[in-house]
Amino acid sequence: MIEIRWHSRAGQGAVTGAKGLGDVVARTGKEVQAFALYGSAKRGAAMRAYNRIDDKQIINHEKHMLPDYVLVIDPALAFTDNITENDKPTTKYIITTHLSKDELISQIPELQDKKDRVFVVDAIGISLDTIGRSIPNTPMLGALMKVSGMFELDFFLDSMKSVLAKFPQKIIDANMEAMTRAYNEVK
């Protein structure tokens, strides 16, 4: 079982990102779960979303998880939220930031002994450049594909095209570019 925890603000698309990832993964015959903790949270409030991926049906409904991947799609939450909560010696972090990896880690004591497991990508900058809005969810998925090796980029982009099918072509194209850039730029 692979477990993923998203740290986000309500409105940044973590729920959509988690469900989109679930949708793509389910197409490969795997079982998925995507859920979020937000309730009556307002836009901008810190919230978390979660994915579970497994070969057999997922029947665990607890919110508690020991994540394999922690995806932080709001730069400030790396500082203010407890992003290392319940982590494992193998947990990998992908953090949205305009800082370099060294600059970021030097400011977050909890990450200092996990340097080789921390990855950074400017998902906000990329989404502003490509989509024209601060929607860091799809670029984060591009970065996750690179770091996890879960799927080849081309397969993933193709699958995401149908997940995003309800949007106008222009937005789909912009998301494709955002994911490709994040895939190539994550460090």
């Binding site: 469900k19 679930g22 389910a26 859920f35 903790l37 049906q57 409904h61 607890e62």
Partner: protein, 411 residues
């Protein structure tokens, strides 16, 4: 004619989406609804299906849940297939009309996304609303995940509309834990699903002017009791139709439902009895404990009403110690599920040790670790031969440990 929707064989849907798709596929004549968290998306999605031509029926937006259920009663009495959705406070506001619907024997289907009742205000999942509907005369089916919310909503129409039953049916799912959790859902095509549900069979419909009928008549001590006795009998006897519908559904899909779902119970020494998503989380705990040599199993009423007094007894009578979990504040009593399971087991030769846990109120997480701890406590009762803790305990609450009532069947 309503447009057909192309569905993939496996979709990634949350419980709300699954329930709304089942309502669409059943081609309901009238949906009267007032959205409320966490079931809002069912109403939203359904409204979108209507607007986009996927539904031929009417969608009535009303000013409250009381009006929603009243609209459903009117439309069902007129002779249509009728459905709605609600949660929590909305459910509470409907309660008066719920009794009207069942007393008039109107087969309305309601998808209920379970949520806590205020006060304090809380939008998250517990079973307070489901328990509030306990005596309302509705059949209550309980889904443990999104797939089951879809399947059971389709079954609900077929059960309630059967002329041997003619009763309203609720399909429950856990707020957020099911309603907002996307998982793999195996779908039926629109044609397969509608063929399974079947055409609505009008019965004593008010719009048949050649045969005028009255709904909701007044009866005092002369007839009220006979009506209520007949209604209770119909509810108890719906068991057979429920089993038939589940069997037919299995033939179509391979997915099997039973009035009581038993997991690893063949040789179980200790068991957890629960409702909703907790059933599945407890199954994970049982799997893990089996590896440690504890003979753990899980039993769950799939059908909360009519209460499966018979099948609960069969499932649990050879178990030594049982924890019954109630996700609703019992307010001055033992939990309702505990009381009902205990009553059933009291009529068995073995009379296992039964304790009660109140847990998960207002959406408090229920973990696999906690389920394992509860199983182990049952093992301690089983080994001692008596209940070694208070009979009612609280699981997952902060503050001083709460426990009430000691056993009189001590060492």
């Amino acid at each position: 004619m309503a447009e057909k929707m192309e569905l993939k064989e496996v979709e990634v849907w949350d419980g709300n989406y699954a329930a709304s798709q089942a309502l669409r596929q059943a081609q309901v004549d009238v949906v009267a609804a007032y959205p409320i968290t966490p079931s809002t998306p069912i109403v939203e999605n359904y409204g979108a299906y209507v607007a986009n031509g996927y539904v031929d029926g009417e969608f009535v937006m009303v000013e409250s849940e009381h009006a929603a259920m009243s609209g459903c009663v009117g439309a069902a009495a007129a002779g249509g297939r009728v459905a709605t959705a609600t949660s929590s406070q909305g459910f509470a506001l409907m309660v008066e009309v719920l009794y009207q619907a069942s007393g008039m024997r109107l087969p309305i289907v309601m998808t209920v996304v379970n949520r806590a009742l205020a006060s304090p205000l809380n939008v998250r999942g517990d079973h307070s609303d489901m328990y509030l509907g306990r005596d309302s005369g509705w059949i209550q089916l309980d889904a443990f995940n999104a797939q089951e919310a879809y399947d059971l909503t389709l079954c609900a129409f077929k059960i309630g509309e059967d002329l041997r039953v003619r009763l309203p049916v609720m399909v429950h799912q856990d707020g957020f834990l099911t309603s907002h959790t996307a998982q793999n859902v195996h779908t039926l095509s629109d044609d397969e699903a509608y063929k399974f549900v079947g055409d609505y069979k009008p019965h004593e419909e008010m719009l048949d002017f050649s045969k005028p009928v009255t709904y909701g008549a007044q009866t005092e001590e002369d007839w009220h009791f006979e009506h209520k006795a007949k209604q209770h009998k119909a509810l108890i006897e719906s068991r057979e139709v429920i089993e038939e519908v589940f069997a037919e559904f299995k033939k179509l899909t391979g997915r099997e439902y039973k009035r009581v779902e038993s997991y690893m119970m063949d040789d179980a020494e200790v068991a957890i009895v629960a409702l909703g998503t907790t059933v599945e989380t407890a199954r994970v705990a049982a799997q893990q404990l089996r590896e440690e040599g504890v003979k753990a199993g899980v039993v769950a009423p799939r059908v909360f009403r009519p209460f499966p007094f018979d099948d609960i007894r069969d499932a649990l009578e050879n178990t030594k110690a049982i924890a019954v979990l109630d996700r609703s504040a019992p307010m001055g009593a033992m939990g309702a599920l505990f009381n009902e399971v205990s009553a059933a087991l009291y009529t068995t030769p073995n009379r296992p040790l039964v304790t009660n846990f109140i847990y998960g109120l207002g959406g408090r997480d229920f973990s696999v670790e906690e389920a394992k701890r509860i199983f182990k406590e049952q093992k301690a009762h089983a080994d001692a031969g008596y209940i070694t803790t208070p009979i009612q305990q609280f699981s997952g609450v902060r503050g001083p440990k709460l426990g009430f009532f000691e056993t009189k069947r001590g060492k």
